[in-house]
Symmetry: C2
Subunit: 213 residues, 2 copies
Amino acid sequence: MPTPEKTLGGRRAQAARNDEVILEAARAVFLDDPKAPIAAVAERAGVGISALYRRYASKEDLLRRLCHDGLRRYIAEADTALAEPDDWTAFSTFLAGVVDADVHSLTVHLAGTFTPTEEMGRDAMRAGELAAALFDRARASGRLRPDVVVQDLGLLLEACAAVRVPDSKRTAELRRRQLAVLVAGLSAVPATDPLPGPAPAAGEFDWRWRRRE
Amino acid sequence: MPTPEKTLGGRRAQAARNDEVILEAARAVFLDDPKAPIAAVAERAGVGISALYRRYASKEDLLRRLCHDGLRRYIAEADTALAEPDDWTAFSTFLAGVVDADVHSLTVHLAGTFTPTEEMGRDAMRAGELAAALFDRARASGRLRPDVVVQDLGLLLEACAAVRVPDSKRTAELRRRQLAVLVAGLSAVPATDPLPGPAPAAGEFDWRWRRRE
DNA sequence: AGCAGACCGGAACGATCCGTTCCACTGATA
DNA sequence: TATCAGTGGAACGGATCGTTCCGGTCTGCT
């Protein structure tokens, strides 16, 4: 019997591929609209609804999985950042990593739509500890204004997640820019680097006034 | 015939009072959830659904009115701020006023749920001009970092509107704090004032994980 | 070749939910 | 007392969505 993972053709392979495709589609869809219907995920993934329900017992299950993945990603970003020797760089790359991964939207806007597992509780606690460690190092570096606290990071990430335009690539750019402003605001020393990304242009937000769906 | 406005008792007076009550309730409800049902507004206002439909032909009508009111409030804040002699103070009080009035949520999260009137288009344009005027004065004061543009203000306001906790009083405090960080980030000179309001506390955001409705 | 079953697409179902309409009722006014 | 603007809230009709279910397809094994 060949190892199933190596079989590129065949039913098993399609199923394995669908595992990925479905998760990716779900991520994209629920990131765009946390209350999106299950059918939207199936459509985006290019599969039928059955393919979803074969993998997850319910919508809540899928949401839980997605949120937990986000949490793990958050922890991974923190771990990566902690390996960086320079305290301030570790701090700011962590934030950039979380913003780029769009983890906050997943974690925050999906939380409350399902009953969390115990493991998620533990992971959430660990995530908090890692963020605190990064924050403490940033504080030790002396570049933080003294009146900032760890919990401000939550607000900061939320602020970045709030930036959203129809094009997701552009959204990422604008978030980086917003993050740069916020980090500069947290810093005790004046910023030296220029704000990243093309500045928002006149009329770039006019789409808001167009009628939606 | 007595002037209707001065009649404190009676049906007319109740109707006049309801005009206010309904608008206020609608503001509160749709601020909390832009997709809230009409019935929620009626309940919050303590009136029946009829009282709503007597005043507005449809939900869309009410939304339009609310959004337009928000736009007018934005303009009023800008006008007030423009009277301030110091350029930088004018700029920052304008932002604080808009954040405090929670105008951005109304304008932005409600936009797109109705077809705007021409007058709203004109007001939106005027709002943009006033904001630009304030921004230009801030720039002229030399306290702005050179790579910031007017359009960044939109992102900044959105970031503040994204801050939200169940208690609205606390929300206002946290937004002020967030605004202070952002304005510090826009500034070319290091901030001197300490961050306002009680700093966010540990566990203050745990409510997110509690199951919602 | 032939069969069992894993896997899938998508129609159908049942349960909400929501905007709007409708009607009976109240109380101020004339 | 007659009128009627103003009101509360039940009822209606349409839309939405999570989930189930059935018929079909392809794979791997015998």
